[in-house]
Symmetry: C2
Subunit: 343 residues, 2 copies
DNA sequence: TTTAGCACTCGATGAGTAAGAGTGCTAATC
DNA sequence: GATTAGCACTCTTACTCATCGAGTGCTAAA
């Protein structure tokens, strides 16, 4: 869609003013606040065209215009200027990562808490999942026949543990053998990489110990299957209610459903590609429950491997520039913090 | 406070009708629905007395009466009849515990989920904390100098793990010695019991290995300190919004503050005595944030040791009989499920 | 002691009105 | 031809006022 310079200015004004005020924007407001050098009447003409193009709409005849979802998309793709965090905000965020963290969850929970204070959107985060990080060592603890606990230590010293089912009654000794295989052959690899490594060497020397390898593969599979059910962290629920969109209790209930159900948010994070920032506006979202919301997500890494994702969810009338800047800064800082030593 | 038979009946009617309808109750309604065999005028006289006694109050002159918090307390203590769950509800609840549970959290989360479906109150639960359960064995995994992971296996096979700081650079060998001490001497005891056992035998043979014992005590202390920060599980947030008390967004925000902050709920559970069901009505609660709510709590056990607590939070206009029945049934069933085998 | 009767109070509801915001169109202007 | 001033028109919002009805407290009779 081709818009002349002035139409773009008008659209930008409508979007930004609406984001700021949550009210329909009138031609007069634009003329007054955004100094396009033309009269309200001219702006009205442009607005009529923009409405015909489906980029803005009118709640009722005697109201100003609000952006349509298509209008927001146009804005995000072509008009929006890069947002910036204040130095103060940046330093608040970095400072929490500077603190000594006892456990992986501590880092995550601090992140959520700080970001909730910086923004009025719902903050949500998955992981970090050490099974996608480079292994330092693993340790098996046999609990009962067919049950064991697997402790995973990442290269930089973070720890996580998983309960796993063993396919058959495996002896303590076999378990120790597998442990040695992991620790001797697979240090520095992630679980998916280990699977590939095993498959590649299936005709090599390792494959002579067929049973052991099968066991290792089973274990990896069982761990990776657990992954998706794993930790989802949330924050900022109380803040998002400040948004006038949530003055209606019905909307609040929908939001709480989303929060309590968790699976939608989990899937959104799980499907986030590691190609920078993803922005989904309203009906662009796959799930009904979030089609009147917008979601900004990105993945974060540990030593180069993607181990989780981070997201902000708000009304479609979201401050995209700021949300994107925030998601970008957080995922980068978090990646750095995780890549540094755990201890 | 002494009330004659009829005043009690009237108070009971006011409380129960108000619980059911959330509306002020008029003398006429009582005469019609609760068949006291007297006219509205008589009931009005009784109501005037009850109001003077501070048990009921009038929102405005031309409205009926609602119970005061004092009135609810009187009702709970002396008038309320024991509530009952339907067989259907009971069997739904027991059935979830019959299912095979992979992890301790699974049981807890299922409990929350089911109870949220049975009630329109906020459901919250702490624990289960295996450090208060009888030990089967422990296992230490040294992670880095001054850091280790402690895996606790309870007598019936449940597993939990804690990251612990070691007071000094302890050698792998010493750690293994402590592990042996725990597993040989302290099987079947809880951590607090172990502390007492150690202190009692401080002049006995064990005390010859002074350093080892100190280390063990340090570890126990460090684990028990973590306890209070530990798992809090929540559910039913979306349901509680059905209550007309939460038609006002301000109330909802207060509630979400409570949920997001967690510390208040945590403390409420931590302070719950294991003496049956505790009911706190409105301002009887210690914390400002819940003084317009009522809370019903009880502890649950694992093999006789209290390992956690369970609670329902709702508006002061809560169905106490039902809430109490539910809390009672859940804590009993949960205790049974946890005392049975984990595998 | 109980109850019928009645005047009184107060919140809720709805109609009617006025104010105000914003538009679209027309005609004049640049 | 593009822009703008002017104006009639539409629609929402806020406010007022009257009415209705629920429920009470009081009084006097049963």
């Amino acid at each position: 869609m081709k818009l002349n310079q002035r139409k773009q200015k008008v659209l930008e004004a409508v979007v930004e003013d609406h984001i700021a005020t949550a009210e329909p924007v009138s031609s007069r407001t634009i003329a007054r606040k955004y100094k396009l050098g033309v009269s309200p009447a001219t702006i009205r003409n442009e607005m009529a065209d923009l409405e015909e193009a489906g980029l803005i709409e009118q709640p009722h005849t005697s109201a100003g215009r609000i952006p349509s979802q298509k209008g927001y998309r146009y804005y995000v793709d072509r008009l929006m200027r890069k947002g910036h965090l204040t130095d103060r905000e940046k330093s608040t965020i970095t400072s929490i990562f500077a603190q000594q963290a006892r456990e992986l969850v501590d880092i995550v929970q601090r992140t959520i808490k700080i970001v909730s204070q910086c923004t009025d959107y719902l903050v949500f985060l998955s992981g970090p999942q050490l099974e996608n990080a480079a292994l330092h060592k693993v340790r098996f603890i046999s609990l009962a026949p067919g049950k064991a606990m697997l402790v995973i230590v990442s290269e930089n010293g973070w720890v996580e543990n998983k309960l796993i089912d063993l396919p058959v009654a495996v002896s303590q000794e076999e378990l120790e053998q597998v442990e040695r295989v992991f620790n001797n052959y697979f240090r520095g690899l992630t679980f998916p990489q280990i699977t590939r490594a095993i498959l590649k060497s299936v005709y090599d020397e390792l494959s002579r110990q067929r049973l052991l390898i099968d066991l290792a593969l089973d274990i990896i599979e069982s761990v990776l299957k657990q992954e998706s059910e794993d930790a989802l962290y949330l924050g900022g629920t109380r803040n998002i209610l400040k948004q006038p969109e949530y003055r209606d209790i019905q909307q609040v209930r929908k939001l709480l459903d989303l929060i309590e159900e968790q699976s939608v948010l989990r899937t959104i994070l799980a499907e986030t590609q590691n190609i920078g920032i993803t922005v989904r506006i309203g009906r662009e979202n796959k799930f009904d429950q979030v089609q009147n919301c917008s979601v900004v997500t990105a993945t974060y890494t540990m030593g180069g491997n993607t181990v989780g994702a981070f997201g902000l969810l708000g009304p479609v009338r979201m401050n995209y520039a700021r949300a994107i800047a925030l998601v970008e800064f957080i995922t980068q800082t978090l990646s750095n913090a995780l890549t540094g030593s755990g201890f």
